[in-house]
């Protein structure tokens, strides 16, 4: 039972990180029908940007203000990268064959990943300890302050995003563009702006996810983006790609799944089990758990 509760807590923590990153994939896919392969690498880049802001700009201060500043600056930086990425690598290919955009996304991913390597070096870097090491022991189940922060902050961001997409005019524009870009354009929606907005939101959520990864796992490497990106993308498929609550649900479920695999089987097989889960989901329910758009054949 202890293992169960402990892995439940760990699973919710990593699940909320997956969910934050998955939102970036699912929103871009929903509107552009494109797997943004560079998203995972932007998540990794965010952790490195946070590291540099901490050491170079803030002079290694760890006050609450400094931590907030790191999150805000990293989110703004990644939002700018996201807009640049869309402008330079994806917008010119919007009318091109699907596969051309996929190759462009892979190219962008290589550029960002190796850009990180050229700037920060190929070796693993240690992310600063921004949050004090506080642990609570509930009869054998240890929960750390950082886990609580990650979970709460992720939930707040996800609820905010959900309300934004469902309740505001801009959110309606996003949903309309996801259903039919041409119809949205006829209704006076500037789809280019919607896509730029999606990249801003997705990238900044991914940036927060990247900082969480740094805070939680501490060791960050230039090529970790592929791994977390793939997990997050699987989470998005799990919940039904293009579906925003689906990405949140999928992220949480995948986090729990991986935590239980690590707790009860072995973490060396986590990847294999994750992909077996994905393949089973795609065979049984290709639209994902919350996916409902059946117009497009899957």
């Amino acid at each position: 039972m202890d293992i169960f509760l402990q892995q439940l807590a760990n699973g919710l923590t990593i699940g909320s990180m997956f969910a934050l990153v998955a939102l970036g994939y699912t929103m871009v896919y929903g509107v552009m029908k494109l797997i943004n392969f560079a998203h995972g690498d932007m998540v990794a880049a965010s952790a490195f940007v946070g590291l540099t802001i901490y050491t170079q700009v803030l002079g290694q201060a760890t006050s609450l203000v400094a931590v907030i500043a790191i999150f805000l600056l990293a989110a703004v930086a990644m939002a700018c990268v996201g807009i640049l990425l869309e402008r330079l690598a994806y917008r010119p290919l919007r009318e091109a064959p699907r596969l051309s955009a996929v190759v462009s996304a892979l190219g962008a991913s290589l550029v960002i990943q190796n850009g990180i390597m050229l700037i920060w070096g190929p070796q693993m870097r240690i992310f600063p300890e921004l949050v004090p090491q506080v642990y609570w022991d509930f009869g054998g189940v240890v929960i750390s302050l950082i886990q609580v922060i990650i979970l709460v902050l992720s939930l707040i961001l996800m609820i905010a995003l959900y309300l934004f997409v469902e309740k505001t005019r801009m959110g309606a524009a996003i949903r309309a563009s996801a259903i039919d870009q041409d119809a949205a354009r006829l209704m006076g929606i500037n789809v280019n702006n919607v896509i730029a907005l999606i990249f801003v939101i997705g990238s900044s959520l991914g940036a927060v996810g990247g900082l969480f990864i740094g805070l939680y796992y501490r060791g960050i490497t230039f090529n970790m983006g592929w791994q977390y990106g793939l997990y997050a993308f699987i989470a998005a498929i799990l919940g039904g790609i293009g579906n925003i609550p689906g990405a949140m649900l999928g992220g949480m479920l995948l986090g729990l799944f991986q935590a239980f695999i690590a707790g009860y089987v072995s973490s060396t097989w986590a990847d294999a089990f994750t992909f077996i889960l994905l393949i089973l989901i795609l065979i049984v329910r290709p639209t994902g758990l919350l996916g409902e758009r059946v117009a497009e054949k899957v």
Binding site: Y29, K33, I35, L88, A89, P92, L93, A96, P97, R98, L99, S100, A101, V102, V103, S104, L106, G107, A108, S109, L110, V111, I112, Q113, N114, G115, M117, L118, P122, W226, L230, F233, I234, I237, I241, T268, W269, D271, A272, T274, F275, I276, L278, I279, L282, I283, P286, E296, K297, V298
Partner: protein, 318 residues
Amino acid sequence: MKNLERFGFPAFIVVMAILPNLLNSRWQAVAITFLIFTVVALSQDIILGKAGMFNMGQALFFGMGAYITAILNSQYGWPMLATIPVAIILPAIFGVLLAGPIVHLRGDYLLVTTIGFNIVFVQVVQNNLGGVTGGPNGIFGLDSISIFGTQLTSQISVYYFAFAVLLLTLFVMRNLEKSKAGRALHYLREDQLAAESIGINTRIYKIFAFALGAGIAGLAGTVFATQYSAVSPEAFEFIQSVLFFSIVLVGGSSIPGILIGVFVMFVLPEIFREFATWRFFIFGFAMILAMILRPRGIWPASFGKIPKFLIKESNHGA
């Protein structure tokens, strides 16, 4: 361009046939790598380019062939050449088994699933499942190929082995294009619904393409194991699959395009060794730029002898 292909092709064969005699041993090794990766890229082209299925796990079949050769040779003492049929057939069967349940999936889902197969494969060999794969270190100390009792240990003989495999692959691809199966694949890639409606069993042909591509990649794996007389998991990581995927699409799914792609990806880095750390950074930009300037690839493939005015510009894939 047509003329270039007509004369360029035999010229390429002749140059490649005499090439190893002009090179020192380091460049011979590079040339062998070029041949092997060309074969893998061509096998990927059958699945991705010809059949239009978003397969990003080709390194799996390549690695499976290499591992089959290595395991049969090191554990069971089979001669290297005797492992070839198994290294072709087993990956082909796996291709059928893996592709069977997923070929109906839409492009992007197929892509992620095949990435998954590749990652599962690497994890299986890394965790030394069954105790035969040698774990993270792989298997080394394999025999060299022997024909009629003569050991062919020199690098030149490995080169000609790889060259023979390339010629065989080119022969298969040429026949495929002119056969019923090739036309069916071309049709189902252009328009699956139309292909189905005139009676092409698209599912069977898609699985067939997977099996053929997997078999050829497996054969390339045997050559790879022969060249290094060793195999290890990192040679078949899914980043390799990403490279093969990109080579086919940037090349435009044509033989010259793929040759250029493999040359740029695997031979140029050997020439410009001092830029090794910049390699993927530059390739990334090159991939984006190539797609923006030539969305259909730098050397788009043409199919059959269809008059120009009959060809409607359409988007590939779905």
